[in-house]
């Protein structure tokens, strides 16, 4: 414990001491070198030199020095005490590191104190940059790049230097993220040799690459030729003429070109011999092309002497060679069908469609001639591939030519022998065998000269009939395989757009290929349009028809071609849509959004202006059936439990009223009522502006029915005639003193109440009331009673439904009791009726019966205490809050 205290004290002492002498800022010594960067694998020695002042103070010397690397003490074997103040440490074969080396002393024999620290960084000097090369992208500045050599593990700067024979250019410092290239700041000057080299430099050294000396024009990568166009020639179906625009570099150098082409559906490019395009030009005619074939071209250029770089390829351009006459006669054959008429026979002439590479264009039709020996020639023009003619039993010669826009093919000549013809050299030893996935047919050649052989076959199947197919072979052939596909591909649409359709099909099964499919041809047409043919490479299984017309029915079929012939597949129809995908959405969505926005704005507007709108469009029309008793008193006692919603209307000049409490049974009351009535009459005109007719103010609708409803015995339904409603208009609310107290009366077209229709009832009440000298008031209340009679019970029920905690059985019982009380009471005064009604209305709250009692009492007391009422403040007597109407 004592030792610990001593240490602490000593530590504090050291700290204070060092602090007092500026120890933290003024170290006790230093290390040399200060910021060493050491080459990997080399030896490194650091020397720590103590300051005399510090040595004296701490009573230490170089022997007290010990070293740490990354807080680990270096073995003392690596130390060398140079003299009294300096000690060194040596590290051999420095590895890759970035470590901290500190010089420390042990003071007072036990406290280690750091004297100085340095950070040792190791790495490698830069290697000589290699493969320096530059490129001048036309129109841009020269960019040079190089191989930086090995990793140095140090921050290495690469500087590209360049100069002419007479002047130097600014150095180009390679950026950190692209240390192997740099783009100079100056524009390249052609035809002047420039010398360029790279200097790589880091903390361990600087090294320079080999100098390269070149003319920037020899490092140019021209811009690609542009506006490449392809035009055909009507005179020559085997050529296409290319034209293009060269880049501006042609003003400086001679260019040479690479021109490549391929058929549209091929994937490999052919190239024009470079020697044909070894000089600057802007057009070239490509020869030896197939007629009526679409070719795609691209071109690039570079300096003619081969120095520099090839430009990028131009954009591809395509063109179709012009049509040529069909290069081959179609295969031609016949079938003889038995004829019903004697001496004649029906002969079906059939032929194969020419594959595109032989049709050399669109076959418009076929011309067939049939000739009997020394008789007149019969000509037929046929669009299809068969013709049935009725011939006699004689020998006939038939010829067939295919015609396209340019001309006719050679004629296929077919001899239709006479009926009694017997072949003298029939084909012998016919054999068929499968080999290499095709069916081979072999026969023994006949002795005589043969023009051609016709092979006929059909697929033997239990389910399918034998549909014969055929192919033609030269007369020299005695073995072949069945080539023509026996079935055409079935095309279908993968995607149909407004102006394009993606067609797809399945590869023909090997069984039906009968050879190698060379290509497909897609024929498509509209109902009224011409048929268009498109050749597709056999490797493809889909093709996009473009430039279609929207909302149009198209018919499409495909033919598969082998070397021998082709076979059509079934026709497929599709209709292009009227609108492109998303087009409808592009129209409908904004419209819907606009509509939605408008609606939303409208709703918001209506919501904000709801009071105004309600006032003008559907003002509150008082429903007598929903009237209820209101307390009508000059000063409303604060006995109703209004909620916060009530307070919202505290400042209003108009208040919807459901129930008006009427203070009764005081003689003084009636004159006051009369005063109020007079006041009402006097100010009727002025209040009309507030009441605004039937629905102008809810005060109108609520006050009077509540009064009239006191007469519950009068339950007759009145549905006709009009009735005048009283309106209480006031400027105050509840405890607020209104500035102008108004009691008004308004006209209404509501159905005339029963009491109004039966003046006798009113008279009866008048008499009763008249005994108390309250006739004017009774006259007024008569109308109220009449109105209330419309449906008192229903009204109560409606109100009860709105109440939150109403016991309906109690409510009905209470009503019955009130009615019976009313009948039993000899007074039969309207005031009592009114009180009963008030009690009924108050039954919305809990404790219905108790409230009945309380309301009666309160109403009386109010009349007594307040004396003459000065105003009538209609208030809603509803449990839980204000009842808007």
């Amino acid at each position: 414990m004592l030792t610990l205290q001593t240490w602490i004290v000593q530590a504090l002492l050291v700290f204070l001491t060092t602090d007092s002498i500026g120890g933290l800022l003024d170290p006790c010594g230093y290390i040399n070198p200060e910021s060493p960067v050491v080459q990997l694998g080399s030896n490194f020695t650091a020397v720590c030199v103590l300051k005399e002042k510090c040595m004296d103070y701490f009573h230490v010397n170089a022997n007290y020095i010990f070293w740490k690397t990354n807080h680990v003490t270096v073995p003392k074997e690596q130390y060398t005490v140079i003299n009294r103040t300096a000690s060194s440490v040596t590290f051999t074969n420095i590895p890759l590191l970035n470590s901290q080396l500190t010089c420390n002393i042990r003071t007072f024999g036990q406290i280690d104190q750091n004297v100085y620290g340095i950070r040792i960084i190791s790495g490698l000097p830069p290697e000589k940059p290699k493969n320096l090369n530059c490129i001048v992208n036309e129109g841009k500045k020269m960019m040079c790049q190089w191989a930086p050599g090995r990793e140095t593990y140090l921050e290495t700067n690469f500087t590209l230097k360049s100069e002419w024979a007479t002047e130097k250019f600014d150095d180009c410092e390679a950026k950190r993220d692209t240390p192997t290239s740099c783009t100079v700041d100056y524009s390249p000057v052609y035809f002047v040799n420039i010398e360029v080299w790279v200097e790589a430099e880091n903390a361990l050294g600087k090294v320079t690459s080999d100098h390269i000396n070149f003319d920037p024009i020899d490092k140019v990568k021209p811009n690609a030729p542009h506006n490449l166009s392809v035009n055909n020639s009507e005179e020559l179906s085997s050529i296409l003429k290319l034209t293009w625009i060269n880049s501006n570099i042609k003003n400086f150098i001679t260019l040479k070109y690479n021109i490549q082409y391929r058929t549209k559906d091929a994937s490999t490019w052919s190239q024009i011999p470079p020697e044909d395009t070894a000089s600057t030009r802007s057009s070239f005619t490509v020869q030896d092309l197939k007629p009526f074939t679409e070719y795609v071209f691209r071109i690039r250029c570079m300096k003619a002497d081969g120095k520099g770089f090839w430009s990028d390829w131009s954009e591809e351009a395509s063109g179709i060679t012009y049509e040529d006459r069909p290069s081959k006669a179609p295969s031609f054959w016949y079938k003889i069908e038995p004829s019903r008429t004697h001496g004649h026979r029906s002969v079906q002439l059939i032929w194969k469609t020419l594959p595109p590479f032989e049709a050399n264009g669109k076959i418009l039709d076929y011309e067939v001639t049939v000739t009997r020996w020394k008789s007149r020639l019969q000509n037929y023009t046929v669009n299809g591939t068969e013709l049935t003619v009725n011939l006699t039993n004689d020998r006939y010669i038939a010829t067939l030519t295919a015609r396209n826009l340019v001309g006719k093919s050679d004629a296929s000549v077919l001899t239709i022998p006479a009926c009694d013809f017997q072949a003298t050299h029939p084909v012998m030893d016919l054999k068929a065998f499968p080999k290499d996935n095709v069916l081979w047919v072999e026969w023994t050649a006949t002795n005589g000269s043969v023009n051609k052989y016709i092979l006929e076959w059909c697929v033997l199947s239990d389910t399918l009939p034998c549909i014969p197919d055929w192919q033609q072979e030269d007369g020299t052939v005695h073995r072949t395989y069945l080539r023509a596909p026996s079935k055409g591909p079935t095309v279908r649409t993968k995607k149909v757009g407004k102006n394009e359709a993606v067609l797809e099909w399945d590869q023909l099964p090997v069984d039906v290929q009968n050879g190698f499919i060379r290509n497909y041809t897609i024929f498509y047409r509209t109902i009224i349009g011409n048929e268009t043919a498109v050749n597709v490479d056999s490797s493809h299984t889909e093709y996009t028809l473009s430039s279609l017309t929207s909302d149009t029915l198209y018919m499409v079929r495909m033919a598969a071609y082998t070397d021998e012939g082709g076979k059509d597949g079934p026709e497929f129809t599709f209709t292009t849509p009227k609108f492109a995908q998303g087009e409808i959405e592009a129209i409908v969505v904004p419209v819907c959004l606009a509509f939605l926005l408008t609606t939303l704005l409208g709703v918001l507007f209506c919501f904000n202006k709801r009071d105004l709108i309600k006032k003008h469009i559907w003002p509150n029309v008082p429903d007598p059936s929903k009237s209820h008793i209101a307390q009508w008193s000059p000063h409303t006692p604060p006995r109703h439990n209004f909620n916060s919603k009530d307070q919202m209307y505290s400042d209003g000049n108009f208040t919807d009223v459901s129930v008006v409490e009427i203070e009764a049974n005081d003689k003084k009351t009636f004159p006051e009522d009369m005063k109020s009535l007079d006041l009402f009459k006097r100010e009727k005109i002025s209040t009309e502006g507030h009441s605004s007719g039937i629905g102008g103010s809810s005060c109108m609708s609520s006050s009077r029915p509540s009064i009239s409803s006191s007469d519950e015995n009068e339950s007759a339904q009145n549905t006709s005639s009009t009735v005048q409603y009283s309106t209480v208009v006031h400027s105050g609310y509840r405890h607020q003193v209104p500035s102008v107290q108004v009691f008004s009366r308004s006209e209404s077209t509501q159905p005339l109440l029963d009491s109004e229709e039966r003046p006798e009832d009113l008279q009866l009440v008048d008499n009763v009331e008249g005994s108390d000298g309250v006739l004017p008031r009774q006259q007024y209340f008569k109308q109220n009673c009449g109105q209330r009679e419309t449906s008192p019970v229903i009204s109560h029920f409606e109100r009860s439904k709105q109440g939150s905690s109403i016991n309906q059985e109690d409510f009905v019982r209470l009503k019955q009791q009130q009615i019976s009380d009313h009948i039993s009471q000899s007074s039969g005064s309207g005031q009592m009726k009114m009180f009963q009604e008030v009690s009924t209305a108050a039954s919305f709250g809990p404790g219905t019966e108790e409230q009945v009692e309380r309301f009666e009492t309160v109403g009386m007391e109010a009349a007594i205490d307040e004396g003459m009422p000065k105003s009538y403040l209609p208030q809603t007597v509803r449990q839980g809050g204000y009842m808007p109407q």
Binding site: T166, Y186, V192
Partner: protein, 234 residues
């Protein structure tokens, strides 16, 4: 006369060597044909009026038929082609270098006055590149006997006065650029002839041979003598 020629030769040599020594920084390719081809290409590039003269005329509003006629080279400002033909290669290069130096100087003022001339900076860079090639060609010729031969008469060109009138200054600029392009055209013609006989001097152009025995001692059409190097006064 002999003394005068010797004096001029020495002056030419001194100035040439001075040019070589002061300008040298990098190394030259050392291939005569390559260098000659570069000089030709540069001369072709610079004689193209679309680089300077045409934009200048357009910018200055001189592209009307009446004014264009006044935009012709003023004789004597640039060495005539005939005079260039008569020069030795060495002298030719010296004169060319000096002339380009003056052109550079003048274009610098254009650069200040007419920033709209966008290609001007590029043209000036090309002129400096031309001078670099001249330097290298001089190095190549320096070791040959060709370089040591005496030059033709080197009269000083006239010193044109700068007009104070703005319109006249426009016209002068136009005439200057016209002369520059024409001069470069002449240079290109001479350099083309060099390629045909790399080791022989062609003293006279074919055209000159047809002329009426005007054995030109005048580099400039006004008969003034051309300084082999240094400032071209105008």
């Amino acid at each position: 006369m002999r003394a005068q020629l010797t004096q001029r030769m020495l002056l030419s040599l001194v100035l040439g060597l001075l040019f070589l020594s002061t300008a040298a920084t990098g190394s030259c390719s050392g291939k005569y044909q390559g260098l000659l081809e570069q000089l030709r290409s540069q001369a072709d590039y610079m004689q193209d009026t679309s680089r300077l003269l045409d934009p200048y005329i357009h910018i200055q509003g001189l592209d009307t038929s009446g004014l264009k006629e006044h935009c012709k080279e003023r004789p004597g400002v640039f060495p005539s082609e005939d005079a260039l033909w008569r020069l030795s290669r060495w002298d030719f290069l010296q004169i060319l270098n000096a002339t380009l130096g003056q052109v550079l100087h003048r274009l610098t003022t254009f650069q200040q006055d007419l920033p709209q001339l966008k290609d001007l900076g590029m043209v000036m860079l090309y002129i400096r590149g031309f001078q670099s090639n001249i330097h290298c060609m001089c190095q190549l010729l320096g070791s040959s006997s060709e370089a040591a031969k005496p030059t033709q008469a080197s009269p000083a060109p006239p010193l044109p006065t700068l007009a104070s009138d703005a319109f006249q200054r426009k016209l002068e600029g136009c005439r200057f650029l016209s002369g520059y392009h024409h001069f470069m055209h002449s240079v290109a013609q001479v350099l083309r002839e060099w390629g045909k006989s790399p080791r022989r001097i062609r003293r006279h152009s074919p055209r000159q041979a047809l002329q009426k025995g005007a054995h030109g001692t005048h580099l400039f059409s006004r008969g003034r003598r051309l300084a082999p190097s240094g400032q071209l006064p105008w």
